[in-house]
């Protein structure tokens, strides 16, 4: 086993030596690693002074964990360039041939590049975080407990593995370093959006949810590594063709695929759409399964976690709760529903929801699209359970309130 892992370290060592001997690669990393914590500390100091005027203790207490999250992220984005040019850079410099002719398996080559791609940004991130913690401890700031620090270090590691594994996939598939760098925005932007969600979790202070976040990010990273290895073809790396954009060909191919060989609309529905639907069936089955699990999970969660709260709540609190979810204690005037909900409004609203799921899914390997869908569908189970707990028959409300939000 050790003999099989040794070549991975050889590839990584070769790459590390290559990086460490070039000051142009090292200097930006060193400057950013050392200067950014200092800048963040100055910002934190000013921010704390500002918050003290308003007695905003919550924001002040969560400032250090949030800063650690940001400080850990920046060196990774800068060092990502190293991973992005892992294969395509070697191809452009003409050094890929000796590497590919070495007696190494594809997976050993891949993991060697992945290892050095992860190590470099992680060293920079950890150094930045430790430096910031030293600086922050001199200010009157709340340093997070050890368990939260562990979470933040793990989250930074998960981000690094996620971004580098995606960067290596891009590096293998790109035809030039320029293209790889441009494609990197598809890594940086989704991870930046993901971090906004994680920042909300940090300010919320729910450790358990953050653990789920870490597990989710690591899971996606493992999937990316798995996909990267399965699609890694050393023969392709030697090819030097450039993918050019041919609009005429794109339109022609799309129309040809869209219409199939159908002559009439009936023929199209029967054969072309029918065949496409058959191909989507496994995904549809999976999505239906997700729907079932989400409805059940949200129903069970509300029943387990909210039941005690409802049981110990005063009648005034129950009334407030009922009013807060749009007066569910009584149905709205049904004669007014038709005046407020027109068919065109519902159609446009639901079409917009499907379009948002499509766009979110397209920029996130379908992850965000499925998450939006899960969020939407979970409301049904949660609302159903909440209504039962409040002693209201959920079925009429279920039809009147949920159907319009559900759509298809």
């Amino acid at each position: 086993m050790f003999n099989k892992l040794k070549p991975i370290w050889l590839v990584a060592k070769r790459e590390l030596k290559d990086q460490l001997r070039d000051w142009r690669v090292l200097m930006p990393m060193i400057i950013l690693t050392l200067c950014f914590p200092y800048l963040m500390n100055v910002f934190a100091s000013e921010f704390v002074d500002f918050l003290n005027q308003f007695d905003a203790n919550l924001l002040r207490d969560r400032l250090v964990p949030f800063s650690i999250l940001i400080i850990g992220f920046f060196p990774i984005t800068v060092s990502l360039v190293v991973a992005l040019e892992a294969f395509v850079g070697e191809k452009e410099r003409g050094t890929i041939e000796p590497l590919l002719s070495a007696p190494l398996d594809d997976w050993q080559l891949y993991f060697g590049k992945l290892l050095v791609g992860v190590i470099t940004p992680l060293i920079a991130s950890y150094t930045s975080i430790i430096l910031y913690l030293l600086l922050a401890s001199r200010l009157n700031l709340t340093i997070p407990p050890a368990s939260e620090l562990l979470q933040l270090f793990l989250l930074t590691t998960a981000h690094a593995v996620l971004m580098v594994s995606a960067a290596i996939v891009i590096s293998v598939q790109s035809t030039s370093v320029k293209a790889a760098n441009l494609l990197a925005s598809f890594i940086v932007i989704p991870v930046a959006i993901l971090m906004q969600g994680e920042a909300v979790m940090l300010f919320w202070g729910n450790d358990q949810v953050l653990w789920y976040g870490i597990a989710g990010v690591l899971l996606i990273s493992l999937l990316l590594i798995r996909v990267g290895i399965s699609h890694f073809q050393r023969e392709y790396l030697l090819g030097r063709e450039i993918d050019s954009i041919n609009l005429k060909w794109i339109v022609k191919t799309f129309i040809s695929n869209f219409t199939g060989e159908a002559k009439t609309l009936k023929d199209w529905y029967q054969h072309v759409l029918g065949a496409a639907l058959q191909r989507v069936l496994p995904a549809l089955f999976f999505v239906t399964l997700i729907a079932g699990v989400c409805i059940w999970a949200s129903y069970a969660w509300i029943k387990n976690n909210v039941a005690d709260m409802v049981a110990t709540a005063t009648p005034e609190e129950i009334t407030d709760l009922k009013e807060s979810i749009s007066g569910i204690g009584e149905l709205p005037d049904l004669s007014e529903i038709q005046d407020h909900l027109s068919a065109s409004f519902l159609f446009l609203n639901n079409t917009r929801a499907v379009a948002v799921i499509f766009l979110a899914g397209m920029v996130s390997f379908s992850v965000l699209g499925i998450m939006l869908y899960m969020l939407n569908i979970s409301l049904i189970g949660g609302l159903f359970a909440l209504l039962e707990l409040l002693g209201t028959n959920p079925l009429p409300i279920f039809f009147s309130r949920c159907c319009s939000a559900w759509g298809f």
Binding site: N257, Q338, S366
Partner: protein, 68 residues
């Protein structure tokens, strides 16, 4: 549900069918065409039917059942 499944299908197929980068374009267009077929041929008509049901039939049924 069908819309989400179509996006999941798109990425699932893209990852499983891509072996050579030179085929990226063809595979992506083919999968986008599949998504467009399902969206235009199935999702949009179903959304239209659902909108009509939600706007006209559901309130009438509730009106009869609840007597409001």
């Amino acid at each position: 549900m069908i819309g989400s499944a179509a996006v999941l299908y798109f990425w699932g197929q893209l990852w499983s069918r891509l072996k050579w980068a030179s085929l990226w374009g063809e595979v992506v267009i083919e999968l986008l065409a599949d998504w467009a077929k399902i969206f235009i041929g199935l999702v949009v008509p179903l959304l239209a039917i659902a909108a009509v049901i939600e706007a006209y039939i559901t309130p009438s049924l509730l009106f009869q059942v609840m007597g409001n």
